[in-house]
Symmetry: D3
C-alpha cells in the first residue's frame, strides 16, 4: 500500500523550503504527494501570475500534484473558511500524513495555516510541523534523511526565482547549511527536521525491494 501525503503551506515556496526534500523522498518511495498552497503569495515580491508559474514548475520538479487554496496573502486567519479549505484537501487526498508550518512563527499566515490544519486534521494520525525561516520556536525530534534529495529540493526551490532573487529569507545556501546542521543532529548526512503534533508510527513490515517502475505517470496538475 502506498501512502498519500499532503503538504500544506501558506505561500508558494513555503512547502519547498520546509519539506521539499521529504516530499522527494516520498515520491521516490512511490507515495502520492499533493501540495496545497493556501494563498497566491500576492504580497511578496513577484507578480501573481509569475508566482503561480513558479509554483507549478517547482511541483513538476518534485513530481507532485499542486493544489491552490485561493485565500489572500497576509490575510489568512484560522477561521471556519480556512479550515474548510484544508479539510477538503485532507478528505480529497485521504492523507496518511500531513506536513504543515510550525505553530510558533512570526508570519501571521504561517500561524493561521498551522492552527487551521490542526483543526482540520483533528482526526489525522500523523501531522508533522516543518520549520520556516520565520519560525520562532522549533525543537525538532523527528527527521527524514534527504541526503539523496537535497539537490532536488534546491532545484525545486530555485523555480521560485522571484523569491530567491529578492527575499533575504529564501537563500539556497542557508537551505543546504540547515540540511547539514539537522543531518548531524539526526546522525545522517542531510536531513529535514520536524516537530510532530502527533505521529503514529506504522510498524507494518518494511521490505527492501526494487523500486516499482510501472508507477503511473504523475505530472503536476492544477485543479481549477
Amino acid at each position: 500500500m502506498l501512502r498519500s501525503v499532503l503538504a500544506i503551506g501558506a505561500h508558494p515556496d513555503d512547502i519547498e523550503l520546509g519539506c521539499g526534500g521529504t516530499l522527494a523522498a516520498h515520491r521516490a518511495a512511490g507515495d502520492a504527494v499533493t501540495m496545497l498552497v493556501v494563498t497566491g503569495g500576492q504580497n511578496g515580491p513577484g507578480a501573481t501570475a509569475e508566482r503561480r508559474a513558479e509554483a507549478e514548475a517547482a511541483a513538476r520538479n518534485l513530481d507532485c500534484l499542486l493544489r491552490w487554496g485561493h485565500l489572500v496573502d497576509c490575510a489568512v486567519t484560522a477561521d471556519a473558511a480556512t479550515i474548510a479549505v484544508i479539510e477538503k484537501a485532507i478528505r480529497d487526498t485521504d492523507a496518511d500524513v500531513v506536513y504543515v508550518h510550525a505553530p510558533d512563527d512570526s508570519h501571521q499566515d504561517h500561524r493561521a495555516v498551522a492552527a487551521a490544519t490542526l483543526s482540520a486534521g483533528r482526526h489525522s494520525r500523523r501531522i508533522l510541523h516543518y520549520r520556516s525561516p520565520s519560525t520562532t520556536r522549533f525543537e525538532p525530534t523527528v527527521f527524514t534523511d534527504i541526503s539523496a534529495h537535497l539537490d532536488t529540493k534546491i532545484a525545486a526551490l530555485s523555480c521560485h526565482r522571484s523569491q530567491v532573487e529578492n527575499s533575504a529569507m529564501v537563500d539556497p545556501e542557508v537551505v543546504a547549511a540547515s540540511a547539514r546542521h539537522y543531518g548531524a543532529q539526526a546522525r545522517v548526512r542531510h536531513a529535514e527536521a520536524f516537530m510532530p503534533a502527533r505521529f503514529v508510527w506504522d510498524l507494518s513490515p518494511v521490505l527492501e525491494m526494487p523500486l516499482i517502475t510501472q508507477m503511473p505517470a504523475y505530472p503536476a496538475q492544477v485543479p481549477a
Copy 2:
C-alpha cells in the same frame, strides 16, 4: 529487511509496562527484538530468582530475546560502566531503534538508565522514551497502535506476579486505561506513547503483504 529492536529497562517489568505492546507489534511485523534488563530488581518485592523467572516468562510471552545487565537495583548511575553495558547491547544487536525510560523520572535508576542510553546511543538514529508510572514529565508526540497487542502486553506484564500483587505502581487496570487514553490522543483504539530523543522516519517503501510465517523459531534466551 527486518528491523532490529532494542528495549532497555532498569528493572524486570519496566519494559513490559512502558512498551510491551509495541514490542509485540514489532514481532508481528517480523522484527527481531531484544530486551535488556539492567538490574535484577533485587530491591522490589519478590526474590531475585523469582523475578528472573518472571522476566523470562514475560519475554517468552512477547517472543523476544532477553538479556541481563547485571547491575544492582537502586544503585545504577549513568557512569562509564553502565554506558558500556548498553553500548555493548546496541552493538551486539545492531539496533535500528532503541526504547528506553523517559529522562525525568522520580526513580533514580530510571533516570540513570535513560541518561546512560543517550550516551551509549549517541550515534543511533532512533531513540524513543517510554513512560513509567514514576515518570514526572512526559509529553508524548509519537505513538504506536497496539490495539491488536494490548492483551499480549497485559499477559506479559502478568508474568511479573511478584510485582502485580505487591506494588501499587504495577496495575493492569491502569495499563489498559492508559492505552485507551493515549489511543484517543493518537486517534486509534489503544496506543503506547513515546517522547522521541531523536527519530529518523524511514520512508522506504511500505508494502502490505501476507505475514511471513516461515520466520525461524525465536524463543527467549538468556545469555550467561
Copy 3:
C-alpha cells in the same frame, strides 16, 4: 463559607468532559456551581433546541446552575464582546475558582474561550485549565479526586446524546479510561487533571463534618 465555582466551556458538553466530576465534588462539598456555556453548539451534530435540552438535563444531573453565553459556534474570538460575557459571569457569581479550556487546543473556539477567560479573570486568584479531546499541549500538575463522582460525570455526559452517538470525540469509555490514567498519576483511583493558570491555595482550617443537609434546593435554572 461555601465556595462559588464557575465552569466555562465553548460548547454544550465541553464542561462535562473537562471537569464534570470536579463540579460534582464541589456540589458534594456544598459549593455553589455555575456552568457558563458560551455558544449553543450550533455547528456540531444535533439541532440547537436538542442541544439546549441536553445541556439542561446534564446541568440538572450535576445539580448546577446553567448559564448561556449566546455566542456563535465556530466563530468565537477572544475579543471585547466575548470577554464581557465572561466578565459578567465572574462578577455575577463572585467566583472563587474558575474552570476553563486549556489554552493550546486545535479547536478555535476553545482557544478563544481560554484566552478570553484569562482576560476576564485577570483579578481571579484561581483559574484552572481542563483538558478537552482536542487539547494539544497539556501537562497537568493539579488534580481532583473524582472516584466518588465518576458515575455522575458519565451520567451528565450521557445527557448529550446527540454528541455521544455522533462524535468520535465524545466517548464515555475514553472518559473513564482518562480518569483512571490521571488517577494513577495523582495517586487516587479516578481523577480529573488541570493545568493552573494561577492557583492560590486557601489554607484556612479544613474540618471534617457531617454534610450540611439543609442546603436550599438548587435546581438547574436557565437565565433568559
Copy 4:
C-alpha cells in the same frame, strides 16, 4: 481533621527562605508542621553548633517541629540513603503535603534533595516545590497568601544570623520584595510561590470558624 505538613530543605535556612510564611499559615490553620533539615550546613559560614542553635530558634519562631537528616553539607546525592531519610520522615509524619526545593537549582544539594524527595514521596498526593535564591528554572503556578505571615517569616529567617550577615544569598530585603512580586502575580498582597510536582486539591467542605485555641502546646523539639 488537621493536616500534617512536612517541609524539607538541604541546609538550615532553606525551608525558611522557601516556604516559611506558608508554614506559619499552616500553623495558624491548626496544622501540624515538621521541618526536616537534611544536613547541618557545615560548609556555609557559621560553626555547626551555631547553625544548629539558629535552626532551633527559627523552628521555635515558626512553632514547628524540627528534625535533622544528619547528612553532610555539599555532599548530598539522591541515593538510597538520602531517600531512606526522607521516606522515614514522610512515614513518621504521615504527611498530607510535602514542601521541597525545586528540581533545577545550581546547588548540588538542593537538586539532590529535590530528586530524593520525589523518590521518597512517590505515593504522596501533594508535593510542592519552593524556590531558593539558587534555583535556575522556576515557573510557579500555585501560591499561598502569606500577607499575615511575612513578618513571622522574616523573623524566623533572622534567627539564621550567621547566614543573614555573611551570605549574599540570604537577604531579608529580597525576601520581602519577592513576596510582594509573587503577591502581585497571585492577586494577593504577599505570597509564596510553588511549582507543583503533583497537587491533589482536597475539595472537602471548607468552613469558617473561630480558630481552635485549645491546640496542644507544640514546641520545637529535636529528635536525637
Copy 5:
C-alpha cells in the same frame, strides 16, 4: 556610534512598567530612544486627552521621543495594518534594539502587539520581550541593571496618574519589589528582566569614558 532604541507598548504606561528603567539607562549611555505607544488607552480609566498628556510627561521624564500608533484600545489585532505601523517605526528609527510585550499575556492587545512586532521586526537582530502585570508566561534570561534608574522609572510611571490611582495593575510598590526580585536573580541591586526573541550580542570594544555631556537637547516630541 550610539544605538537607536525602539520600545513598543500597547497602551500609555506599558512601556514605563516594562522597561522604563532600561530606557533611562540607554539615555544615560547616550543612546537615542523612541517610545511607540500603539493605542491611546481609550478603554482604561482616564480620559483620552488626560492619558495623552500623562504619556507626554512620562516621555519627558525619561528624555525619550514619543510616537503614537493611533490604533484603538482593546481592539488591536496582529494584522497587516498593525504590522505596518510598527514596520514604519522600525524603519524610521533604524532601530538597533526593539523592546516589546511578552507574547503570552492575558491582555489581547499585548499579545497582538507582541506578535505584530515579531512580524515587523523579522530582520531585526535584537528583540527583547518585557513583562507586564498581565503576562502569563515569563522566564527571563536577559537582564539590565537599573539600580541607578529605578527612581526615574517610578517617576515616569507616576506621570500616569489616572492609572496609578485607579488600576490595581499599576502599583509603584510592586514595581520596586519586582526590580529588587529580578535584581537578586541577576546578581545586581535592581534589574529589569527580559525574554529575548533574538539577541545578537555586539562584542565591539566597550570603553569606559566620561559621559558625553554635549549631547544635543533631546526633548520629547510628538509627531502628528
Copy 6:
C-alpha cells in the same frame, strides 16, 4: 575597560566547537580570554600528550590563555572538587562572562561541567551555554556574529587533528553549516548560538574606535 572572558569545556576541542568564533571575536575586541579544559580527554581517540599539544596549538591560534582542570575524562561529576576547580578559575580571571556546555547533553562530563559551572558561577552576571554535537535540548536566544571569525574557529578546531580525523562528532563541514544555520536565525551571516543561564546586558556607552594595537602580546600559556 576590557572584559575578562572565561570559556569552560570538559575536553580538549569542546570549547573550540562550542564558542571558538566568539572567543576570536572577544580577542578582536581586545578582551582577555582564558580557556579552562577540565579533563585531558584521555578517553577519546588520540594519546594524552598529543591532545595536550593539540589544545595548546588551538589556544595559540585563538590567541587565548589555556588552563587545565586535570580531572579525569568520562568520570567528571558535579561534586565539590569539580566546583572548586571552576571557582578558582572564575576567581583568578575575575571573569565578566563565562561560556560553558549546555546542561542537557548526552555526555555525562558535559552535563557535570555545566552543572558545576552553575554552582561555581552562582554570583556571576553572565553565563552563556554553548551547544555541543551531543547536546540534547538547545533553544538558543542569544547569538554572536562570527562572520569575520569562522575561519579562525575552523583553524583552531583543525589543530585537534586526532579528533577531526577519528570522531564523527567533530566535522568542520558541520561546524560551517551550523554557523550559517544559526547566522540566518540571528540575521547575520555566520553566528554562534547560546542559551543564557543569566545574562546582564551592559549598557555602558559603546563607541566605534580604531582597534587598540598596543595590546600586550598575549601568547597561550599553560599554568603548571
